[in-house]
């Protein structure tokens, strides 16, 4: 325990706390900007400075530990004035188009200005170069960046991929991929964790709202929407509800009021995924146990950020990935085939929109593999945040909506599908079905929850010994199935290293690209609740527990789908519509064997545009001059001759110069 004095009052606080933590525990608020408890304690913005008796300068409270007898002033005149100046300096290099900024009223910089009582911006001057870099998933607008480096922490320390970092120095500093390349041209997984932590409008999802409005307004289009499991426990937060609030009914109602023709549920496809992926796992294990060739462990493939990461980082291990498409592309493929046949519409007239907690899914849908007969499986992806914006724009009073249902036949789901949104959920859902398929009995866990893989540890593992199998699955009798679950790319990296070294003991691995799973995806609402993960997790588990049917194979519409259309899991039709293949990508760039062309893929620099055009013209001219160089060579040799002569003269001149200096010295010393 340490005894400190804050603003004249004595407090006893635990050892090892920083000043900001100690103050918070005693209800004293210290304004801060870049500080993110437990994640980013870096002191880059200095807004949280406080006065400490005996210290020469103000100290950043997020990085300074309390010490015995410390006397701290958190709100003295000196401190308050310093914060205002710091804030104004931040503003001096910030594009202040707040009224039309996507983060208007959800901007931490804006809120801070109000908190600090800043009413003037005294500092105007040179502004940093404005770089706007639009990729399929993430848009970077560096005119708004305040260099807080939360995104650098998220990308480097949390996800462990290190796509973005500070480039250049001083005023030129910009947070960007290496050599300021465009984010779409490098090995970014598009997990979007940077967009969640960005306090301002510098990092955000690439907008798809306009495309979706256009589709809704197009009378010739049948617009189908589907929503991922993690949306239903998160979108409520955008309308003031506490984290983890379950708003499934209101979500369905809102989607209907937005003008979508069919409101389906990605959960349905999650159930379908279990049957496809479970069957794939069983056939791989069977093959391995009966002396055939099979790549094990098999790894889940629902998370497109994870997929892109592994394609870049472990292109030789792609055989471990399940060939299943992600659930929403499965549903998209079925909407444009199975459902199109039912409603007698051409696939080209159907527009599928996915509401996802994910930024990576925006670039997943433009992959050439995610098409059937030339039609994209999914036409647009909206993040949870984007959907909330549309609901607001439409003037829908979300909180007072009645609870409504999803449409069928692609809207019904079991509890197993709900937990697809949490780390460990896909694995648990798969085990519920596979175990029952193999033994004819229910999974032997309390409440069907596979407790060892519940929670937020980076890598979780479990083993399950299978006994008393049904006749068809005798090959599994007495086999101990080993599984592992991880979320976040840093954890995935650990498991992939094992696979690369050949030491992986597992049969089946679940990977989700974002730490915590989809509930903490890159497209989810930004939250300042430190316990938000647990609350959203609780929400999804409750959603699961409330359902009568909690095992994917019990879903009657899945049974119907197989009977009417797909025939059986991993069948011919399934492979055509629901399975995919993967692409070997370069370690650092988008595609293998394709080197960067610095000129083409650099992020667009707005102000440099004119200069670039001029440069290009000059370069063309110089290239022309170069081609004429050959004929100049003869002349050059003659010039060389002349040069040597003049050089000789020069040397003589220098020698003469030195001689005179020596003579001068000699005469002086005399």
């Amino acid at each position: 325990m340490k005894h400190i004095t804050v603003n004249g009052k004595p407090y006893e606080v635990e050892d090892d706390l920083t000043i900001i933590e100690a103050a918070k525990k005693h209800g004293i608020q210290i304004p801060s900007l870049c500080y993110l408890a437990g994640v980013h304690e870096f002191g880059s913005c200095r807004i949280c400075v406080v006065e400490v008796e005996g210290a020469k300068t103000l100290v950043p409270s997020c990085m300074t530990k309390v010490s015995e007898g410390m006397v701290i002033l958190t709100n003295s005149e000196r401190v308050r004035r310093a914060r205002k100046v710091l804030y104004e300096l931040l503003l001096s290099d910030h594009s202040k188009d707040c009224l039309s900024c996507k983060r208007n009223q959800s901007c931490e910089l804006q809120a801070l200005g109000k908190q600090l009582g800043v009413e003037a911006t005294r500092f105007e001057g040179t502004r940093s170069e404005c770089v706007i870099d639009v990729s399929t998933s993430i848009t970077r607008d560096m005119s708004k960046c305040i260099l807080c480096r939360r995104c650098v922490t998220a990308c480097n320390d949390i996800q462990g991929v290190g796509i973005i970092n500070a480039q250049n120095r001083g005023f030129e500093t910009v947070i960007a991929p290496a050599m300021e390349l465009a984010i779409g041209s490098v090995n970014c997984a598009f997990c979007g964790q940077c967009t969640v932590v960005c306090p301002v409008g510098a990092l955000k999802e690439t907008d798809s709202i306009q495309t979706v409005w256009e589709a809704i307004n197009d009378k010739n289009k049948r617009v189908i929407v589907q929503t991922a499991p993690a949306i239903r426990v998160a979108i409520g937060e955008e309308f003031g509800n506490p984290p983890g609030s379950r708003v499934t009914g209101k979500l369905a109602a809102a989607l209907k009021r937005l003008g979508f023709d069919d409101v389906f549920d990605t959960n349905f496809a999650a159930d379908l995924t279990i049957l496809e992926e479970g069957t794939e796992l069983l056939s791989r294990v069977k093959s391995a146990l009966t002396g055939g060739e099979a790549v094990l462990p098999m790894i889940t493939s629902c998370s497109p950020g994870w997929i892109k990461y592994v394609e870049h980082a472990y292109p030789d291990s792609l055989g471990h990935l399940s060939t299943c498409k992600s659930p929403h592309t499965m549903l998209g493929a079925l909407a444009k085939s199975y459902y199109a046949g039912k409603i007698k519409r051409e696939p080209k007239d159907i527009f599928v929109v996915s509401i996802m907690p994910c930024t990576a899914k925006k670039s997943e849908i433009v992959r050439p593999e995610m098409t059937n007969d030339g039609h994209a499986n999914v036409d647009a992806v909206l993040t949870t945040r984007e959907l909330a914006n549309m609901i607001r724009e439409m003037g829908i009073d979300f909180n007072n909506l009645p609870d409504e249902e999803f449409d069928n036949p692609l809207g019904m789901s079991t509890g197993a599908a709900d937990i697809f949104g949490i780390t460990g959920g896909v694995m648990e859902a798969a085990l519920r079905t596979v175990y029952e398929l193999v033994t004819g009995r229910e999974l032997p866990f309390d409440g069907l929850h596979v407790t060892p893989i519940v929670g937020f540890d980076q890598v979780k593992e479990a083993a399950l010994t299978i006994t008393d199998t049904l006749p068809d699955y005798r090959f599994l009798e007495g086999v101990t199935v080993r599984i592992a679950v991880t979320s976040g790319l840093a954890g995935a990296n650990k498991l992939m290293e094992q696979i690369k070294k050949g030491t992986s003991p597992y049969h089946f691995i679940e990977v989700m690209g974002c730490p915590g799973g989809c509930i903490m995806g890159g497209g989810q609402p930004r939250s300042d609740d430190p316990d938000v993960r647990n609350k959203r997790l609780r929400g999804l588990y409750t959603e699961d527990e409330m359902k009568v049917m909690r095992k994917s194979h019990e879903n009657p519409f899945i049974t119907q789908l197989y009977a009417e259309y797909l025939e059986h899991p991993n069948g011919h039709k399934s492979h055509e519509l629901l399975h995919t293949h993967y692409v070997r990508r370069g370690t650092f760039n988008e595609l293998t064997q394709e080197r960067f062309d610095l000129g083409v893929t650099l992020a667009e620099k707005k102000r440099d545009f004119a200069a670039q055009a001029i440069n290009a013209a000059a370069r063309a001219e110089q290239a022309k001059a170069r081609s004429e160089n050959e004929s100049v060579r003869v002349l050059a040799l003659e010039a060389e001759n002349a040069r040597l002569k003049t050089e000789l003269e020069d040397v003589n001149e220098t020698v003469g110069f030195f001689k005179s200096v020596i003579a001068d010295y000699a005469s002086r010393s005399r």
Partner: protein
């Protein structure tokens, strides 16, 4: 990478391992703390400049993110573009500045068609300015590679450049 290029027999190089020389250095420095800057210095010495490919190679060898390597490269004064055959440095220290160093810079910019820090299109010269090269008595001075030219004026420039 499989983009094997045919090379002349004289400078045969394993195209699959384009930076072999550097790999030995990297192995030497592998376990030393703060090794990145040392390796970058040596790499620049070896290859003249730190191309993106070279940075990628270093990042991969050290198991560091490329953005971190490039962050260090761009923070310090490493060169990321190919350098010319010769480096021109015009001194803009106080003495040279008052004796007309700036005029020399302007004239060279015009005649070589390059900005400060850039390389001419024919790859002959890289044009830089220096803050005092210690030849104040010879102001205004400029250097081409290791040769110092004293009391330069605009009229002498063509003659000096024609030597290269």
């Amino acid at each position: 990478m499989n983009n094997a290029q045919s090379r002349c027999a004289g400078c045969q190089q394993d195209s699959a391992k384009p930076f072999v020389e550097l790999d030995h250095i990297i192995d030497l420095y592998r376990n030393k703390e703060g090794n990145l800057i040392q390796i970058l210095h040596i790499a620049q010495e070896l290859y003249g400049y730190l191309s993106l490919e070279l940075q990628q190679h270093i990042a991969e060898a050290l198991n560091k993110p490329l953005s971190e390597v490039s962050g260090v490269v761009t923070f310090y004064s490493f060169s990321t573009k190919p350098r010319g055959e010769h480096t021109i440095r015009v001194c803009l220290g106080t003495a040279c500045y008052v004796r007309g160093g700036k005029k020399i810079v302007d004239a060279l910019q015009k005649s070589l068609q390059v900005d400060i820090g850039e390389t001419t299109a024919d790859g002959k010269f890289t044009f830089e300015v220096a803050r005092c090269i210690g030849a104040c008595g010879l102001a205004p001075a400029m250097m081409i590679d290791d040769v110092v030219y004293k009391q330069v004026n605009i009229n002498k420039l063509d003659a000096i450049l024609s030597r290269y």
